[in-house]
């Protein structure tokens, strides 16, 4: 269960963040693009949560899993809950997550758990497209004007401190790995930084060098932004319990 949350909550929270941009995108095309990505992520989340709900049994549904947990029960990484700030931050966050997400799914499709393998197999097709989109924008902004170059570099620098957490192994990771269900995230680390650096270089950007990284999301210890995000996302279910459309 905790293992499913560790994967699915990333998609939910990032999907929610991107959903905030609906009608507020930098341009019509990017607005549509980012909300389309949001829709893919929320669709993937539904598949994971429907599965989680059947494992939980009782009255659990995908909605109770999505809306009725408290902040500490969400196991998403800090990176995905960071605010949209501006287009540069939105793209940098997307890019830093997409590269990781794709490699995670590529490994997860070989899971011994048939449902997780099927969701991964389905999601890969969508996430490859997200990766292409965000990588293209990194290059376009980096290789664009002085202004766009500086702003995307700043965003990368600011968000870089959240990347190391992607590769922290949790207790749930260890347990699932021993059953050939989970993915060894530590193995994804070196290829990740190699790939990210290559694209940054192509975009004439500098790969930050950091020694200290933020962590906590995977244990449910979130940044100050998370509470606000959940307050908005959970509002309807909290105000009108069991409401339905």
């Amino acid at each position: 269960m905790q293992y499913i949350y560790g994967i699915a909550d990333n998609s939910l929270i990032l999907g929610q963040r991107l959903g905030e941009l609906c009608g507020h995108g930098a341009s019509l095309e990017t607005d549509i693009a980012l909300t389309n990505i949001s829709l893919d992520l929320l669709g993937q989340t539904r598949s994971y949560y429907q599965y989680a709900a059947t494992l939980l049994g009782g009255n659990a549904t995908e909605d109770t899993v999505a809306f009725l947990r408290s902040e500490r029960e969400y196991k998403n990484v800090l990176l995905v809950e960071q605010p949209n700030t501006d287009f540069g931050y939105t793209i940098a966050r997307q890019f830093l997550f997409d590269i990781f997400h794709l490699s995670l799914l590529e490994a997860l499709q070989n899971s011994q758990d048939e449902t997780l393998a099927a969701i991964a197999q389905k999601s890969i097709k969508e996430v490859s497209y997200h990766t292409r989109f965000s990588s293209d924008w990194i290059k376009r902004l980096g290789d664009g004007t002085t202004e766009s170059h500086d702003r995307i570099q700043n965003a990368i620098n600011d968000l870089w401190g959240f990347t190391d957490e992607l590769f922290h192994q949790t207790e749930a990771d260890k347990a699932m790995l021993s059953e050939n269900i989970g993915v060894d995230v530590m193995l994804l680390k070196a290829p990740y930084y190699k790939k990210v650096s290559a694209i940054l270089e192509e975009a004439t950007l500098i790969t930050p060098q950091l020694e200290y990284f933020q962590k906590g999301g995977k244990q449910g210890i979130h940044s100050e932004h998370m509470g606000f995000l959940l307050a908005e996302m959970q509002y309807m279910q909290r105000a009108y319990p069991n409401m339905n459309w």
Binding site: N36, L39, D40, G43, Q121, K122
Partner: protein, 166 residues
């Protein structure tokens, strides 16, 4: 067993063909290739469908429409959503591709050509209005998850391109 050939009983086929994709009404769900099996079991029709994209909001509607179509024909139907094997644009039938083009949506190219076209490297997408290849990418993402937005430089009409998914 991951068979790409859907298992559909003959007498159910005609009923399923009357159900259309809510986003693309000219296309039946059979032509879209989203129906993976339809079997009559103890008087109940069991249908399994697979989503084009994970977040496709049309799936719930398609499920309801299938149940309604069978109810109208005097059958009870049960619909299950399956994810594996994952849907690919290859499952759109030749008839479906023609229907798309006629409706004004350019049908998906093969994977390699699709990539070139979506990166804007080559002009490969034919305008469904005038047939010109002088078309340009406006947005990699379009009105629904499965489409990208293009514009024809000859007749100036904007149009949707159904992205290749493999």
């Amino acid at each position: 067993m991951t068979t790409t050939q859907p298992e559909i009983e003959h007498q159910l086929f005609e009923i399923l063909e009357t159900v259309s994709d809510p986003e693309i009404p000219v296309l039946s769900i059979m032509e879209m290739g989203v129906v993976r099996s339809a079997i009559m079991k103890n008087g109940v029709v069991e249908v399994s469908i697979t989503p084009t994209y994970s977040g496709c909001p049309a799936m719930d509607v398609i499920g309801d429409d299938i149940k309604k179509a069978f109810r109208d024909a005097g059958f009870e139907a049960k619909v299950t959503l399956i994810l594996s094997p994952a849907w690919t644009t290859d499952w759109i039938t030749p008839k479906g591709r023609r229907a798309l083009e006629k409706y004004g949506i350019a049908a998906p190219l093969e994977a390699e050509a699709d990539k070139e076209a979506l990166l804007g490297n080559k002009k490969l997408i034919k305008c469904p209005q005038c047939g010109s290849l002088q078309t340009k990418l406006v947005s990699q993402f379009g009105s629904t998850a499965c489409k990208a937005l293009f514009q024809c430089e000859e007749c100036l009409e904007p149009f949707d391109y159904f992205k290749c998914l493999k």
